[in-house]
C-alpha cells in the first residue's frame, strides 16, 4: 500500500480533477479524524462523482478507498457503475476482489458486490464484453462455491457469507451445484456440530429450495434427516441447534412431535444404566459423556404431552415445572406461563 500513498494532487494523471472537501460551511459535530491518505482519496472521489466520470482511473481510486474502508458503499456503488460503463471484464473483477473479501469478510458490501457481478455474469453469458473467459455459468458458480468454502474455513459463522452461498445456489439453481451441498454441510458440522449457520444451511438445502431430481422420495429424505439429527443429538444432547433442526423438520412437514417420544425420553432423565452393547440405530441413546437431563429434551417431551391434550397436559405441567425450578431457571417465567396456558386449556375443555 505504501506505493499508493503519494497524494493524488502530486500525481500528474489526476491533475485535471478538482478535489471536493467533505464539509463546506459546516463545522461538523462528532467529526472523525481521518488519516491524510483517506481524506485525500475521498476528496477526489467526491470530485469524480460530481463530474460523473467513468474510467479506468476511477477503478483505481475506488479500489484504494475500499481498501482503506470497505464499508464505503458509495465507492462500491460508483465502482460497479463504472465497471459496467466501461465494459470491464467482470470475472477479472471478481478475482481482484478475492483478497479484499477474505480480509473484510464482515462487511456487507464485499459480498453484495460479488452478487452483482455473478448476476451479470449469468445473465449476459452471450455478451463477450462482460467476461474475459468462456467459462459456463455453472463453472463460474462452482468456483465461487469453492471460494466461499475457503472463507468459511476462516470464519465458520459469517452471516453474509452463508446467505451469499444460499443466494448463489438458488440463483444458479443447477443440479451439479446442489449435488455436493450436503457433503459440504457435513464437513462443516463435523468440524463443529454446534455451528447453527451450518444447520440452517442444511435446512435450506433439504427443505426450502425446491425438490430436485433424486430427492422425490420425500419419505426417504425424511428418514435420512431424522437419523442425522438424532445421531447429532445423541453426541451432544445440550446442543440447541440440533433440537431446533429437529423441531424444524417436524413443523415443516406437519409431523406430530409424538413420533419422537421414544427417542426423546432417555434424554429427559439422568443417565439410566442402559446396557451399552444394545445399539438402537433408530433411537440412539445419549452418549456416555452427555450431561443429562437436557432442557431441550424436557421441553420437547412437554410439547408432546401438550399436543396430546387432555390429562397429558398435567404431565407436561410437571415437566415445565422442573424446567422453571431446576433445569432452566433463567426462563422460569416462560415455563410458568406455559403451565398457566396449559392448565387454562384443561379448564376450558371441562
Amino acid at each position: 500500500m505504501s506505493s499508493v500513498s503519494v497524494p493524488y494532487a502530486e500525481q500528474p494523471q489526476w491533475a485535471d480533477v478538482v478535489p471536493l472537501p467533505q464539509y463546506e460551511g459546516v463545522e461538523p459535530l462528532a467529526p472523525i479524524f481521518y488519516t491524510n491518505e483517506y481524506k485525500d482519496a475521498t476528496d477526489y472521489l467526491r470530485g469524480i462523482v460530481k463530474t460523473g466520470e467513468k474510467s479506468q482511473r476511477v477503478l483505481d481510486l475506488t479500489k484504494h478507498i475500499i481498501q482503506l474502508n470497505p464499508a464505503h458503499y458509495t465507492a462500491w456503488q460508483y465502482r460497479y457503475e463504472t465497471l459496467l460503463a466501461i465494459k470491464s471484464p467482470l470475472d477479472v473483477e471478481l478475482e481482484l476482489m478475492d483478497e479484499i473479501a477474505i480480509k473484510h469478510m464482515k462487511t456487507y458490501q464485499v459480498w453484495h458486490h460479488r452478487r452483482l457481478l455473478m448476476t451479470h455474469l449469468l445473465r449476459n453469458t452471450d455478451e463477450a464484453s462482460t467476461s474475459s473467459s468462456s467459462r459456463s455459468p455453472s463453472q463460474l458458480a462452482s468456483t465461487e462455491l469453492t471460494f466461499i468454502a475457503r472463507t468459511l474455513a476462516e470464519d465458520a459463522k459469517n452471516y453474509h457469507t452463508w446467505s451469499y452461498r444460499q443466494w448463489l445456489l438458488a440463483f444458479f439453481n443447477d443440479d451439479s451445484l446442489w449435488d455436493r451441498e450436503l457433503d459440504f454441510v457435513d464437513s462443516m458440522l463435523n468440524h463443529d456440530i454446534r455451528n447453527n449457520s451450518a444447520w440452517h444451511h442444511r435446512f435450506f438445502v433439504v427443505f426450502q429450495s425446491g425438490v430436485r431430481e433424486g430427492e422425490k422420495d420425500r419419505d426417504r429424505i425424511l428418514r435420512r434427516e431424522f437419523t442425522y439429527v438424532k445421531q447429532n443429538i445423541s453426541l451432544a444432547p445440550n446442543n440447541a441447534s440440533s433440537w431446533n433442526y429437529l423441531r424444524g423438520i417436524l413443523d415443516y412437514n406437519k409431523i406430530p412431535y409424538s413420533r419422537l417420544t421414544s427417542f426423546v425420553q432417555p434424554y429427559t432423565v439422568p443417565h439410566a444404566d442402559v446396557p451399552s452393547d444394545l445399539v438402537d440405530l433408530e433411537d440412539p441413546p445419549p452418549s456416555r459423556g452427555a450431561q443429562l437431563p437436557s432442557p431441550g429434551a424436557i421441553e420437547f417431551l412437554a410439547d408432546v404431552y401438550e399436543e396430546e391434550g387432555g390429562n397429558s397436559i398435567l404431565k407436561a405441567t410437571e415437566l415445565w415445572k422442573s424446567l422453571a425450578s431446576e433445569h432452566d431457571t433463567i426462563r422460569r417465567r416462560y415455563w410458568n406461563s406455559r403451565m398457566k396456558e396449559g392448565l387454562r386449556a384443561i379448564q376450558v375443555k371441562s
Binding site: H72, T74, H112, A170, N173, H200, F203, P237, R333
Partner: protein
C-alpha cells in the same frame, strides 16, 4: 457459583468460545453480599460527550459511511441518560445532519455520499431528537417528496427494498424505511404493497427472522434470457434467524398492521415460534442473563435491545394467527371496550413478563459497563458508540414495561383533526389517523412497574419500542408532520 453451559464431553470451537466467555462473565459477578450495582452515568456521559465534542479517533474511519449513525447513537444515548444538548451544539448537529441529505432525496452516510436507507433512518431520528420546526430547525429542511420518490425507486417486485441504488435487500433497510415513512407521514399503501409478505418469508424454522429471502428461481439455465418468476412459496430465507433482523422484522410488521388488516389474503407470521426463539436467546446464569443474537453464539450487550426490545412488541404480534383476533384492530371503539372488560380477567396474564428483565439488567450493569466509561459488547472489549446506545436502550427495555396504551389511543383519536396532506397526490388518506394513533399510543404500563435493579439512581429514560426514540421526541416530530395538536402530557 453458576454452573457452565454443559458441553456433553464433546468440545467444539463453539463450546470452547462459550466456556471461555462464561468464565470471564462469571468473574464479573460480584459477591452476593456486595453493595448494589450502579449505572455509572457520569462516566458514560463523559464518554458520549467526548465523542460528540472532540470527535472520533482515526479507527472510526470504518464508520465514515455511517456518520449519521455516530450522531444518532450519541444523541439518543444522551436522551437515555436524560441529558439535553446545549443550543449551540444542537444547531451544529442539525447543520451536520442536513449536510448528509442528498439532492435527489434521502440521506447518505456523509456529505456527498449516495442516499441509503440506513443513514436516512439515523439522520431523521437524530433530527427528531435535536431538531424543531421552522427555519434552521432541521425538520422542515427534510425534502419529504424527494424522500418518497427515493423510497419508491428502491422498491422490488417481491415487496422488499434495496438499501440504495444497486444495494442489497434486507429487513434492516425495510425497518429504516418504514420508521422514516411513518415519522414523516409519507407512508402509503402503494409504497408498502407486498412488504408484509416479504417480511413473513424471512421467518426461519427457528422462529426468528433472517436478513432476506430469495424471491426468484431462474426457470432453467439453458434459457438464461427467460424472465425470472416471483415465487409465492417457498421463498427461502437467506441466512439464519438473527436478533438484529428479527427486531427489524417484528417492528416493521407492527408498523404495517393498519395495511395488513385490510389486505386479503392476510399474510401472517408465527408469533408463537417467534416467542420461543426470543426466549431461547436469553443467556443462562453463567452468561449473566445477557442476550445472544443467534443460536449457539455468544451473548453481546447490543442484543439487550435487538432481542430484549422485542418482548414489548409481542403483544402487538400475538393474535395475528388467532382465529378471531384479526379484526380487532379495525373495528374501533366497540372492540376496544370489549377488550377493556376482558382486561380485568386476564390482568395477570397480560402483565406477567415471560422473560427475565432483572437478569438482563444484571448483564448490562455487571458486564456491559466499561470501567473507563461507555458500554460494550462484553468484557474485556472496549466501549464504542454503538454498544453504548444499545446497551442503554436494552437496559431501558428491561426497566420499563412498554405497552400499546388503549386509553392513550382514544385520547389521540379524539384530538385528531383531518388535514389532507400532499406528498403523493392521494386526497383521502384513510390510513393516516391509524398510523398516527397506533404509533403514538405506546407508553409505560402504570400497573406492576418493574423493579429497577440497583435502585432509582440507575433509572434511564423509557424509549419507544419501535423507533427507539423517547416519547417526547416521537410525539414532537409526529405531531408536526401529521399537523396535529400537541398531545396532552402523560400522567
Amino acid at each position: 457459583m453458576a454452573k457452565l453451559t454443559p458441553i456433553d464431553s464433546y468440545p467444539t470451537p463453539t463450546s470452547k468460545a462459550q466456556s471461555e466467555t462464561e468464565e470471564i462473565l462469571l468473574a464479573h459477578l460480584p459477591a452476593p453480599d456486595n453493595e448494589l450495582p450502579q449505572l455509572n452515568k457520569n462516566s458514560h456521559l463523559q464518554f458520549v460527550a467526548r465523542n460528540l465534542i472532540q470527535g472520533f479517533p482515526a479507527r472510526y474511519v470504518s464508520q465514515d459511511a455511517s456518520q449519521p449513525w455516530l450522531l444518532f447513537w450519541t444523541l439518543q444515548a444522551l436522551s437515555m441518560l436524560q441529558v439535553v444538548l446545549d443550543p449551540n451544539n444542537r444547531q451544529r448537529a442539525i447543520d451536520t445532519l442536513l449536510s448528509f441529505q442528498h439532492p435527489n432525496g434521502g440521506f447518505g452516510g456523509g456529505p456527498g455520499q449516495m442516499p441509503h436507507l440506513l443513514p436516512t433512518y439515523a439522520s431523521v431520528c437524530a433530527l427528531a431528537i435535536i431538531g424543531k420546526p421552522g427555519e434552521k430547525g432541521g425538520w422542515d429542511g427534510i425534502d419529504r417528496q424527494k424522500m418518497y420518490d427515493f423510497f419508491k425507486s428502491l422498491k422490488q417486485p417481491d415487496g422488499s427494498f434495496t438499501v440504495s441504488r444497486h444495494g442489497e435487500v434486507d429487513v434492516r433497510g425495510i425497518y429504516c424505511l418504514l420508521c422514516v415513512a411513518t415519522l414523516l407521514n409519507i407512508i402509503t399503501p402503494e409504497l408498502v404493497e407486498g412488504t408484509p409478505e416479504f417480511l413473513a418469508s424471512c421467518q426461519t424454522y427457528e422462529g426468528g427472522f433472517a436478513s432476506a429471502s430469495f424471491p426468484y428461481f431462474v426457470p432453467v439455465s439453458s434459457e438464461p434470457s427467460s424472465d425470472p418468476k416471483l415465487l409465492s412459496s417457498p421463498r427461502p430465507p437467506l441466512g439464519e434467524a438473527h436478533g438484529g433482523y428479527t427486531f427489524c422484522a417484528a417492528a416493521s410488521w407492527i408498523l404495517l398492521k393498519p395495511f395488513i388488516a385490510r389486505s386479503s389474503p392476510k399474510p401472517s407470521i408465527n408469533a408463537r415460534l417467534l416467542t420461543r426463539w426470543l426466549i431461547q436467546m436469553q443467556g443462562v446464569r453463567s452468561e449473566l442473563g445477557g442476550f445472544k443474537g443467534r443460536t449457539n453464539k455468544l451473548v453481546d450487550g447490543c442484543y439487550a435491545w435487538w432481542v430484549g426490545g422485542c418482548f414489548a412488541l409481542l403483544s402487538e404480534l400475538d393474535g395475528d394467527n388467532a382465529t378471531n383476533g384479526d379484526e380487532q384492530e379495525e373495528l374501533g371503539t366497540e372492540t376496544d371496550e370489549k377488550d377493556d372488560d376482558a382486561w380485568t380477567d386476564d390482568e395477570d396474564i397480560e402483565l406477567d413478563d415471560i422473560w427475565n428483565p432483572e437478569a438482563l439488567q444484571e448483564y448490562i450493569l455487571f458486564a456491559g459497563q466499561h470501567p473507563g466509561g461507555g458500554l460494550r459488547d462484553k468484557p474485556p472489549k472496549a466501549a464504542d458508540a454503538y454498544h453504548t446506545l444499545y446497551c442503554l436502550a436494552g437496559l431501558s427495555a428491561a426497566q420499563h414495561r412498554m405497552v400499546p396504551d388503549r386509553a392513550r389511543r382514544k385520547v389521540l383519536e379524539a384530538l385528531w383533526t383531518d388535514n389532507s396532506d400532499q406528498v403523493d397526490g392521494h386526497s383521502h388518506k384513510w390510513w393516516m389517523k391509524e398510523v398516527y394513533t397506533h404509533s403514538m399510543a405506546w407508553g409505560e404500563a402504570t400497573r406492576r412497574k418493574r423493579n429497577i435493579l440497583g435502585g432509582e439512581g440507575n433509572r434511564v429514560n423509557a424509549t419507544h419500542p419501535i423507533f427507539n426514540l423517547t416519547a417526547t421526541h416521537t410525539e414532537g416530530v409526529m405531531a408536526h408532520f401529521y399537523q396535529q395538536p400537541a398531545p396532552p402530557k402523560r400522567q
